[in-house]
């Protein structure tokens, strides 16, 4: 049985929705310099902006950094993971937990409140100001969003136009009247003086087709028209934010050869097709909305122009 020797370990919980910037915030904390014996528990190492040269050791769930920090991915329940981490590792000097995008930070904070080896330092909730109202009203996740906001000591709002803060704050206060609210407006992080500049983190493994809420729209083209590869490529690249997949056969200008087109994860690939029908048959799949409609129009125009 463990005996209690030293002061309880401070625990910080970072909550907030998928895509609101939790990891960016965490990266900023790491780059700002954490105490070397900190234990960081994250959803996925892939999102954390750690210099590969700093990684000293890594297995399935744990990454040891040469500056002392230990990172740990979430697997099983957090309570299990935490209990295990405290059992098998040297006692960390601080614990920072990046909650899952739908976790209720209050439940995680309870762990620190209950355990005599831990002490709850802060619950931070990151809020995407541009999408907060949409998140709050979302039938699938609105309740989780409200719980996150309610549980926080500090609400850090980003992606909000500087002039919109007063109204936004009024609206936000109805969910949590007591928390400290910090703003991070375009280009000027609230605590810019305290933190080093951040390089954009590389896209995580799933971000390249992480669609925001909405539905897929698909359209197809077929016919005998030839298409200019370069112009189509420019269009695909310009609209890759709403375009998830394009594929099919096309007659290429000016040779008239048939080529197989594959566009996936922002990458475009062409290859000669041998056993294909001598006509253009293309399918485009993307996120329905005005922008995708504009893309569709542009592609159809391109096809007409090619005639």
């Amino acid at each position: 049985m463990p005996t209690i020797k030293c002061a309880p370990i401070p625990v910080t919980v970072i909550g907030g929705f998928l895509g609101t910037g939790k990891t960016t915030y965490l990266n900023r904390l790491i780059q700002g310099g954490l105490r070397p014996d900190a234990l960081i528990i994250v959803n996925d190492f892939g999102d954390i902006n750690i210099d590969a040269a700093l990684i000293e050791y890594r297995d399935d769930n744990v990454m040891q950094l040469s500056n002392g920090c230990i990172c740990c991915t979430l697997g099983g329940t957090l309570a299990e993971q935490l209990a295990e981490a405290l059992r098998i590792r040297t006692e960390p000097g601080a614990i920072i937990i990046e909650a899952s995008g739908v976790a209720n930070p209050a439940r995680i904070a309870d762990i620190a409140r209950v355990s005599r080896r831990l002490h709850l330092a802060e619950v931070v909730c990151i809020i995407d100001g541009s999408r907060a109202q949409q998140h709050a009203a979302d039938p699938l996740v609105g309740d989780a969003w409200r719980d996150q906001v309610k549980a926080a000591d500090t609400l850090r709002v980003n992606r909000l136009a500087p002039h919109g803060t007063r109204e936004f704050e009024q609206w936000l206060r109805q969910f949590n009247p007591h928390a400290l609210i910090q703003y991070e407006t375009e280009g000027t992080p609230a605590d810019a003086s305290l933190q080093p500049p951040i390089s954009p983190s590389p896209p995580g493994p799933i971000s390249h087709h992480a669609a925001p809420h909405g539905h897929w729209h698909t359209f197809s083209l077929s016919g005998q028209e030839k298409i200019d590869k370069a112009r189509l490529a420019t269009l695909l690249e310009a609209y890759q934010d709403v375009l998830f997949r394009a594929k099919g056969f096309m007659l290429v200008e000016p040779s008239g050869d048939i080529e197989l087109l594959q566009f996936s994860g922002g990458r475009l690939h062409w290859q000669p097709a041998l056993h294909a029908p001598k006509e253009t048959r293309l399918v485009f799949i993307g996120l329905s909305g005005e922008r995708f409609s504009a893309f569709e129009q542009a592609v159809r125009l391109l096809l007409k122009d090619s005639l």
């Binding site: 059992r87 995008g101 739908v102 309740d143 493994p205």
Partner: protein, 541 residues
């Protein structure tokens, strides 16, 4: 060496030849099934008449259960319903708090004096108006720490000694730690915080025990007793240690079941998870089948953590919780689908079902795959529009039929109400739409026992005897198919197990009575006499 078993009746699940009286086995596989005359061709065969008065079926396939069942039997059982342990010992169900105290006291006497007394299976929903707290436990055992895991494994009750050991006998104002009338913690500890503080004080977690050969051995023994020859561990971490344990346990020639671990998706990023499954791809054996991935979307209906569509919970409780952001859950589906991997997806509530139907439909639009066999697990109150979508998308369903019995009364009165209970576990509708169908126990949530699960599907009786949803009943032959070929299909093993026909593994369940001839209500009481796995007979001593 060829062995010919004769039987009173062989129910084969082979549509071309549904019945037989003799089965010939060679090198662990089925050589022939048919009449006595049909066996004349095998001149040197050894005849074995030990099952001559019994009924043979394809070995039962449990398509959704957890090896944790094997770990929990390290500890004392305090459940409301009777249950059989790995040694075949039947633990009577405990119908009163008093009976529970007696069991606890008796069990504590068998536990080493230096160790805490750990028990599991207590289900408070069956004791309305009564309260389990530290005083109740102290009355049975006070001199050392006691932990009672509730059936859902999300709540525990501990005695005063355990509260003191964990250092939480005086705390206040903490959600998850219930206070008694005296303003002090009364012993009930809910959710993660409680689990953490108790595991921390005990120095181990009950959930760590899954990656051990001993747990897997015990799990297999319980399975064999109920006639199972193929079983899943449908949320395996596939850690290095876990894989080694699986390999070691199943390599033992005496290991009595084939094992299908499904990797816990949320333990890995999709790219890492796909890589890990690739690594395992060639590490399997006849008795160990790697391949699928398991995704958890929401919680449970009786725990009020499932995600339901409007009007949500019948008694007005708030909607449940997602295990990961919905968009992330969809992305995970897309990733594994694109990689050609089969997904088993836990979705209890109909809102979770809807999200996963959307995810699979999108994945199919982007990367069409025939025969993906993605299987929705539990999916207890799918509506008919959802069933039709599932049918169109080529999805399989593995439905949690045991809920009808264990929580049917609670769903009727509290969580779902009358109408949704008419389509609770929509089994007949699933069949009408030609959706591949299995049913399961989700052990340790409910006990392993395919015949009991089949009985639930046929009778649809709650524990209090109310019939829920007469239109959704299965016939006995249909129910038998769901626990054999149906489940094998959802595991992509139907070419190897699930029916008795030439070339398949000689996996057989031996019953003392004929399920097709007895009263349907008697199905659950039929005794399993033995199982045969790859031609090896495993019988009770």
């Amino acid at each position: 060496m060829t062995t010919i078993y004769s039987a009173k009746r062989i129910i084969t699940m082979n549509p071309s030849q549904p019945e037989a009286t003799h089965i010939a086995v060679r090198d662990g596989r089925i050589l022939a099934v048919g009449t006595q005359e049909a066996m004349q061709d095998f001149k040197d065969a050894r005849h074995d008449a030990r099952f001559a008065h019994d009924i043979l079926l394809p070995g039962f396939v449990e398509g959704h259960s957890h090896a944790l069942e094997g770990a929990l039997w390290n500890y004392g059982y305090l459940g409301y319903f009777g249950r059989t342990d790995p040694d075949g010992h039947y633990w009577e169900g405990l119908r009163s708090i008093e009976a529970m105290q007696q069991r606890l006291k008796k069990y504590a006497a068998t536990v080493d004096k230096a160790s805490p007394v750990i028990t599991w299976g207590f289900d408070p929903v069956y004791f309305p108006g009564e309260e389990l707290n530290r005083h109740v436990l102290d009355a049975a055992v006070s001199e050392r720490p006691v932990v009672v895991f509730h059936a859902n494994l999300h709540v525990l009750t501990v005695n005063t000694a355990m509260l003191k050991l964990a250092g939480i006998d005086q705390v206040k104002d903490t959600q998850g730690i219930r206070l008694g009338e005296d303003g002090k913690p009364d012993g009930e500890l809910q959710e993660m915080a409680a689990m953490h503080v108790v595991f921390d004080a005990l120095g181990f977690s009950i959930f760590d025990l899954v990656a051990s050969t001993e747990t897997l051995q015990r799990y297999a023994r319980i399975a064999r007793h109920s006639g199972i020859t193929t079983i899943t561990d449908l949320y395996n971490p596939l850690s290095d240690e876990g894989i080694t344990a699986l390999e070691t346990a199943t390599a033992d020639t005496a290991y009595p079941v084939r094992m299908v671990p499904a990797m816990a998706a949320l333990n890995w990023s999709p790219d890492e998870g796909i890589a890990r499954l690739r690594d395992c791809q060639h590490r399997g054996s006849d008795k160990l089948h790697f391949g699928p991935v398991k995704l958890m979307t929401d919680g449970s209906i009786q725990g009020y953590t499932a995600r339901l569509k409007w009007p949500y919970y019948h008694d007005g409780s708030p909607n449940g919780i997602w295990n990961a952001p919905p968009q992330q859950l969809k992305d995970i589906v897309h990733h594994y689908h694109q990689a050609g991997i089969q997904l088993h997806i836990h979705c209890n509530g109909d809102e979770a079902v809807e999200l996963m139907l959307d995810a699979i439909e999108e994945a199919q639009e982007l990367w069409p795959r025939f025969d993906h066999r993605h299987t929705l697990q539990h999916c207890q109150i799918m509506d008919h529009a959802q069933l039709r979508r599932a049918s169109r998308l080529g999805i399989c369903l593995n439905i949690f039929a045991n809920h009808l019995y264990y929580w049917g009364d609670i769903h009727l009165s509290r969580t779902l109400g009358f109408e949704r209970c008419q389509r609770l576990e929509p089994l007949a509708s699933t069949r009408h739409l030609n959706i591949p169908l299995a049913i399961h126990s989700d052990a340790p949530v409910t006990p392993l026992g395919p015949l009991f699960t089949a009985w639930c599907a046929v009778m649809r009786h709650s524990a209090s005897g109310v019939q829920l949803g007469e239109q959704e009943k299965l016939t006995v032959p249909q129910a038998l198919e769901t626990i054999t070929l149906g489940a094998a299909y959802t595991l992509r093993l139907d070419h190897m197990v699930g029916s008795l026909e030439i070339g398949k593994f000689a996996d057989i369940t031996v019953l003392e009575e004929d399920p097709l001839a007895c009263e349907p209500n008697h199905l659950k009481d039929i005794r399993v006499k033995a199982t045969v796995l790859g031609g090896e007979v495993h019988a009770d001593d």
